[in-house]
Symmetry: C2
Subunit: 468 residues, 2 copies
């Protein structure tokens, strides 16, 4: 030891920083290496992880899965009616965001939205009767994700609701999402007043057929180039969709005017779309779902294909682990709250919109959208740092989605559950915050993280699956 | 000297770098300070500059001028007809870009555009007769800038052409620009075929009245917030106007549909606007002109209020120097040329569009639009560096135009002719390049610099004016 201390010391401290602090106080230069034990220190999971890392079978499966994700060409095809176009959609079924959950355990906004959907469907004629019906077990509640669908916040889709139909000819799959209602009193935050139901009926009777006619006149819209363009215009196509919505309008409007749809319908439809900077969000989500469903179901793959929240639990699905969900309690978002609200008022993390992060946009593409971090109290540098951090837990860069601020490098794409557990770096998610009571609406926004527990479960399960 | 060389040396080398190189080769650390003599080494101008720098009268005049620029609130008011709304516009007058120039000295694209304008006005019935008329001295040619107007490239405005009317109630002035024709064969690049003239007539007879009806239904559009939003969406509102054009469409389209304009006109008008990502450029230019005209005419001010090119000469005007132009030969743009073209094919720098840089956007806001530098072969870092460099020659930051990549710092605003001459840092301009022959069109794009000679002349003139 003695000769070591005779020379000037230059110390690299790994892990717990207090060891380094002591040396720094004595005047020696210390470089702190951020490091935490893999799997949060869980020995069993760490052993499972060790079996999966650099395992050729997993590497090959991941390459296959991520290639399918990258090769996807989601196209906005048409607007359908959920009960007619969604796979396995029953007549008395309501879809919701996130992993499976019973009525009894649902959060306030989701219950409010379900009551709204029952009234909208005409299955009950008062909120009380709707609630009784929902609690009575006659209506089947299933995740949107079980039907190739996604919905923001409560994510409620009932049979009569119109849905975007996004096809992915590259893989032969389709994905679906409901249509965005705008801001204020809306079903997705649990509001179910007459105003909300009237709007939903108008969306079914006027908006949907008009959009369908417009898309028929226009032909399918290739969504990846449109999203790529929006990423060059300050959107991350999750919490900011101002550019994408504008680009969509620019394509749709001339087509709507030529579509033969009644002029009396076209004008209010255009006004509705033009008044909602989030109109593209649901399309972005369906596009991401289409890209990720193509990558799902590759045996041995640790690629994460779903991250979703139901306001009670956060759940993920992994390509090589079939229909299983890996869930843990949903965190409350530590974000920026609107005046008068705090985390106490917030429903835990909610919505299928984290499908955007799963697909490498949203929080993963935050470098494209510095205005997002400003909205939640950060800087342009934070935005870039968030995107760069995600490269440690992803399998590739998506050359179709480039980031101007990073000299047009691709977005980090394809979350590897192994790398999340190994590094302790958690997927970043840009999200809105809903009030815990139905119908109050959005009370904040923030940057949150997917919880580690989902990924450790998935890694353990994958290791078991590969042994069996 | 000896004790100096006994210690380790740390050298700061100012100016010519070869002195420092010698020291660096001997192993001592050298910091190179980029410095060039002011006024390009011209002793007389440097003395004039010395009299103006920190001169209280100039400082006060600049504060007043730049305050007027910052206080401007340009609003898109209506579409008028040039001959009816432009101040001092005669019946047989054609306006052009840049400083004054005779027919005999005009560049190819400008001549081609003037021939087109004469045919469009019906003053001649063949290109040959139009050319003879133009050469014959019967038509007055004056800069757009003499009529509170601006036009991109050749910048031709003849009496029957529709013009955007932008008002600035904060100062009580108005500014004007022609309407953007789109890309391809267009008058502003000197094309004058039947196709070009037919489009110009359609713009006069259909586009202009329809837009006028739409603006009437909508009310005036506040342009600064719209431009600010576009700067957050990857535009610098000179060479990139994709976001601003989209935002304009989003406002205009619902109004057009409600305006009572004939449905048969509205559809093609919307299609025309939606098909042109540069549609907003001319509005951006008129807004910049309105902001800068408000700042013009403050005695003693060295604020640059015009930078403009006629394809032969580059000219500037300065707030405290009235109607005088300070000109020098226009440079050929060293940019990225389309395949098959080189600088030999290029017309020298052309157009009034440098009004955007004069107003602190365009090249000055390049940090907002990294896609622009990519287009001309640079990086996102180059974009930021360009914007930062401009802070050395400007008087303020414009808090209305913020730059996400610089953590929402304002754009550098208000070029001070003194600082340009003192630092040798030349205003950066994003520009398209026109073919030297009329009608060929755009052959490239690039980042160019305003020539120093304009600024040295202006500084000398201002020093003389203040002495007198």
């Amino acid at each position: 030891m003695k000769p070591l201390f005779a020379k000037p010391l230059s110390v690299l401290n790994v892990g717990v920083s207090s060891f380094g602090d002591a040396i720094a106080q004595c005047g020696a230069p210390v470089t702190q290496l951020d490091w935490v034990p893999p799997a949060g220190g869980d020995r069993q999971v760490a052993e499972a992880l060790a079996r999966l890392l650099n395992e050729p079978m997993v590497e090959a499966a991941n390459a296959k899965a991520v290639d399918r994700y990258l090769a996807a060409q989601p196209r906005l095809s048409t607007v359908g009616i959920a009960g007619e176009v969604l796979p396995r959609m029953d007549r008395r079924m309501i879809l919701h965001a996130g992993p499976p959950i019973d009525w009894a355990r649902m959060c306030g906004p989701m219950r409010g939205a379900i009551v709204g959907a029952i009234l909208y469907e005409g299955w009950a004629d008062s909120p009380q009767r709707a609630q009784a019906l929902a609690a009575g077990g006659e209506i089947a509640f299933e995740p949107c994700h079980h039907h190739a669908a996604v919905g923001p916040m409560a994510g409620i889709i009932s049979p009569s609701m119109p849905v975007w139909v996004v096809t992915n000819p590259a893989h032969g799959n389709s994905a679906y999402s409901n249509l965005n209602e705008g801001l204020g009193k809306v079903l997705r935050f649990g509001a179910n007043s007459a105003e909300v139901l009237t709007r939903l009926k108008w969306m079914e009777k006027t908006l949907a057929p008009t959009l369908r006619a417009g898309l028929e006149a226009l032909g399918e819209i290739d969504l990846k180039p449109l999203m790529a363009q929006a990423l060059h215009m300050g959107d991350e196509v999750h919490n900011r969709n101002a550019a994408a919505s504008s680009l969509l309008i620019k394509k749709l409007v001339p087509a709507l005017l030529k579509s033969g749809a009644p002029a009396g319908d076209v004008a209010p439809v255009i006004e509705f779309i033009a008044g909602n900077d989030h109109f593209f969000l649901n399309i972005s989500m369906a596009a991401c779902k289409a890209m990720l469903d193509a990558a799902h179901g590759v045996a041995g793959s640790s690629l994460v294909t779903v991250m979703a929240r139901n306001g009670v639990e956060f759940g993920i699905r992994v390509s090589g682990l079939g229909d299983r969900w890996f869930t843990t309690p949903a965190p409350v978002v530590e974000g920026l709250y609107f005046p008068g609200y705090t985390t106490k008022d917030a429903a835990p993390d909610l919505g299928d919109s984290a499908i955007t992060e799963t697909a490498g946009v949203g929080g993963f593409a935050m470098a494209a959208a510095p205005a997002i971090v400003k909205f939640v109290g950060g800087s342009a540098q934070d935005a870039i740092a968030n995107t760069l951090a995600m490269t440690h837990i992803t399998l590739r860069r998506n050359a179709a989605f480039t980031l101007p601020a990073l000299d047009f490098a691709g977005t980090p794409a394809g979350i590897d559950a192994r790398r999340v557990v190994d590094s302790g770096i958690l997927p970043v998610i840009n999200t809105g915050v809903a009030h815990r009571e139905p119908g109050v609406g959005q009370i904040g926004a923030g940057v949150t993280r997917a919880p580690l527990a989902c990924f450790t479960q998935a890694v353990a399960a994958l290791a078991t699956a590969l042994q069996g």
